[in-house]
Point group: C2
Chain length 286, copies 2
């Protein structure tokens, strides 16, 4: 079977990398950092959280940057303490997705337990339709906090809707049982990432960029995605992420500094990494 | 008929003043400024926009400050360009309040034309119930951008719900036809403000505090409310209010500086102004 690299016209054994910024729309702080990184090509793609208040700012950017590679960061959680959001679909039609205050649950656990797949599907469709109505033409679908991969039932919803819209979606050859169970649901023509690079809290702060460089040096042939969360370490982002150093304001500022660093640019070059976006992959599933 | 001042135990002819901060919950920038002003008694009351993303931050403040005089700033508009919000009630039950993207309209005009009173009532009730469920015990109801006073039909909704919850609501002896038509709907026991002090764009920036001082010196006997909009002139507030200097970030910073100024404190003292909150008035309608 031909690998994606060859389908895109690259030699077999090529190392393709998407550098992807999550969480557009969550905050002005995240939007400005991510817009800058997209404009300066520090990242190749990004995705937007449709239920969040700054969606209009992202839609304006999409209209003035028709070439930008923007997907939908399908969102079924509202994970911060002081700043919450709820569904795009009418609340009474997606009640199984909502906490007692009418917001999304804060974490994946309650979604996995309570979400009715048909209500998840209704909300997923509403997010895609809202984004398109506002002028965002998505190149891909991915999944905030991986919620839509929390159970095979939810993952089936993602695949069903992605196929219907002819959009590539988040699928990774992950080791372990759940990953394999998910992969059985994927069709032969779907794009599947070979590797994922995403930092967790074990990466020491003072080795942030160096750790990305190491990850780039370790990339294997195939299609990889490096997931970053960009923002400024400012009062808005600090207030949103209060109490959560993981994926907090300083974390996102470190990611922003890292993707713009000379060290990463050099590592990409020296290791013959071919940067791609979802826009190119998009064509393979249409 | 006994005036409110006497009902509260003050001599006839007293000048009572509520200094009221609008728009809690709209932004972290507005929340921190308003919380500080409430704690330092620069304002006597404030009100919260329940559909906005920072509601939880306000609810946390309410829980840690049970004495705080907080009302509901009933909101049927979403007036900024980059940052939008929609209803608390299920979207499909309040469709006449929503623009094609599912947000509230940006201005009062379309609400006056399209809003079905029963849907406005449904949304008003949902906002009050959501606030109470989150631990905010409102002392009064007021109206963001005056939308619920845009037509007598909408104003009737406000009065009906306020009476049901036994809460004072925004009513002012305003000159002009519409004000009189509204006042006919008010019951004899309702609290009616005698005067309202609120700046428009004609106040020169460099005479901001001086103009408030002048307004304080001109206060007449009776019950007055000075409406301010507090926030920091920071990147979050600048981004939210982009393109709108009126009620913009710098405007709100000027209000914040003014209410904390020695000049205003002195003017209040010299003019024998009695500061009151809605909490005290609240008792008169229960």
């Amino acid at each position: 079977m031909q690998h994606i690299a060859e389908k895109l016209g690259y030699p077999p054994g090529s190392k393709l990398l998407i550098i992807h910024a999550d969480d557009l729309g969550v905050a002005h702080s995240a939007d400005t950092a991510t817009f800058q990184a997209l404009e300066e090509k520090d990242v190749t793609a990004a995705s937007v959280m449709v239920p969040c208040p700054w969606l209009t700012e992202v839609a304006d950017f999409a209209k003035s940057h028709p070439g930008a590679d923007l997907g939908i960061h399908l969102t079924l959680t509202s994970e911060w303490e002081t700043y919450r959001w709820g569904p795009v679909a009418p609340r009474d039609q997606v009640q199984s997705l909502l906490d007692p205050n009418g917001y999304f649950y804060a974490d994946n656990g309650p979604v996995a337990v309570h979400a009715r797949p048909e209500e998840a599907e209704r909300e997923v469709r509403a997010q895609i339709e809202r984004a398109m109505a506002m002028g965002i033409h998505p190149t891909h679908l991915d999944i905030h906090m991986g919620t839509l991969a929390a159970t095979p039932q939810l993952y089936s919803v993602l695949i069903k809707v992605a196929h219907e819209y002819h959009l590539p979606f988040m699928a990774v050859r992950l080791p372990g049982h759940l990953g394999e169970e998910m992969l059985k649901l994927v069709s032969p023509n779907d794009i599947v990432l070979d590797h994922l690079v995403m930092f967790d809290s074990h990466v020491p702060e003072n080795q942030w960029t160096a750790s990305y460089v190491k990850a780039i040096e370790s990339l294997q042939p195939g299609l990889s995605e490096m997931i970053v969360h960009l923002a400024h370490d400012d009062s808005e982002m600090q207030a949103i992420t209060t109490g959560h150093p993981d994926y907090g304001a300083a974390w996102r500022q470190r990611d922003f500094s890292a993707v713009r660093s000379a060290e990463i640019k050099q590592a990409l070059k020296q290791n013959h990494i071919i940067l791609v976006g979802w826009k190119q992959l998009d064509k393979l599933v249409r």
